[in-house]
Symmetry: none
Subunit: 243 residues, 2 copies
């Protein structure tokens, strides 16, 4: 699936952010996962040099940020808004983990804008602001230290969205697996060699060959690896004949 259309519909809404460095970190966290729509509700700081430095190559996201006077303004046009927190709250909201929320957010985002809402560094979101969000997303955290940095919270959510979209698209490198008879040919040659070098006593083989089979089966032998391994066995045998 091409992640672009769904991700383009995801807004990151920061409410009353007070540290310019966090604005930059958020922009970078977004862009690295393919998000671009940043909304700043009543920001308590400017997009300054510190913000731009922390944004690194994501200054474009920062410069394109939409500044709003209210949360309602930032949520206008969205079909779903999720308030993000690392604290559990006793609130009458459906509360999800990022992993539970991501598929639903992406599903909605294919057709219309959705928003991830993050409160201020010091005060979080007010109850009135939370009431304007349909969902609560609780980021799992250490109960003894829940102080998730704003940029990190955005990073976790943005990552979760992208990972859910791409799920299983980073494929293992395509190597050609060995055929059954090729693997068996290797095992037979390995056994002959182990007998020849005196490591395996045919009269008391114990569990040596089953152990070897188990090891290579776990790896899943490739065709080329079987060729290399047989080459090694041939060199071992040849060394014995012509030392």
């Amino acid at each position: 699936m091409n992640p672009a259309p769904a991700l383009a519909n995801i807004r990151v809404v920061l409410v009353e952010t007070s540290h310019p460095g966090n604005l930059g970190a958020v922009a970078r966290a977004m862009k690295v996962m393919g998000l671009a729509r940043l909304y700043l509700v009543n920001p308590k700081c400017a997009v300054d040099d510190e913000a731009r430095a922390r944004a690194s190559g994501a200054v474009d996201v920062l410069e394109a940020a939409v500044v709003c006077a209210s949360l309602d303004e930032a949520l206008a046009g969205t079909v779903l808004a999720a308030a993000t927190t690392s604290r559990r709250r006793d609130l009458p909201h459906p509360a999800y983990t990022p992993r539970q929320a991501a598929p639903r957010l992406l599903e909605q985002a294919q057709a219309a804008p959705v928003a991830l809402v993050f409160g201020s560094e010091t005060f979080g979101l007010s109850n009135e602001q939370l009431a304007r969000c349909r969902w609560l997303v609780n980021i799992p955290a250490n109960p003894d230290y829940m102080s998730l940095n704003l940029g990190s919270a955005v990073q976790v959510l943005a990552y979760e969205l992208r990972a859910t979209l791409e799920d299983a698209t980073i494929a293992l490198p395509a190597f050609e697996p060995a055929r059954h008879e090729e693997a068996e040919g290797f095992y037979a040659e390995l056994e002959r060699t182990l007998v020849a070098i005196g490591f395996l006593d045919p009269a008391a083989p114990k569990r040596l060959m089953p152990r070897m089979r188990r090891l290579f089966a776990r790896a899943g032998l490739e065709r080329e690896e079987v060729a290399i391994l047989r080459g090694i066995l041939a060199a071992v045998q040849k060394g014995r004949n012509n030392p």
Copy 2:
């Protein structure tokens, strides 16, 4: 499930980090997800006021960091090391997404230390350093902007581990995995033996040892298997001396 025992066995290994702010951000990213073991390999900066400021309430993680002169030193005693990158590489490593890697890392971490390895901000990890890690973990990212901040990369992995732990019950590994130094000892002996039998030309080694490492890394070597394999190598060598 109580996340503490598995998370306590997870090391975050930073190689040649150059920005103190990143050290602090990493410490905070770790602690917020319940990780505490930080290793600094040949750091290019000091744990200074900037690092402590960025660590916020995670200064304890920063102060307890173990400084090492080499990657091997930081990986000593680990049974699994995963090198983290946002770039795809053409390397003979098993490569996983964080989501694919997390259950396996946690499974191993219930019994013994495992490591997440992160390269320097500018140069990443060298091929030699990558070769010492059993796995590659590719963090999903925007192909047009893969510049994941070091603290963010650690945050994503730490989050994924915690989210996976809180999601599921992880099974215990049935066999005892080989320690890093045991696996490295086997690779070194294998290389010596391959040279001795004339299969590996030290002047033109090609990709033979990386291929061998890849095969055994995929299997996940057990302690007893390493002992058997070294026994076989000893028998090969002895056979050459006394044919």
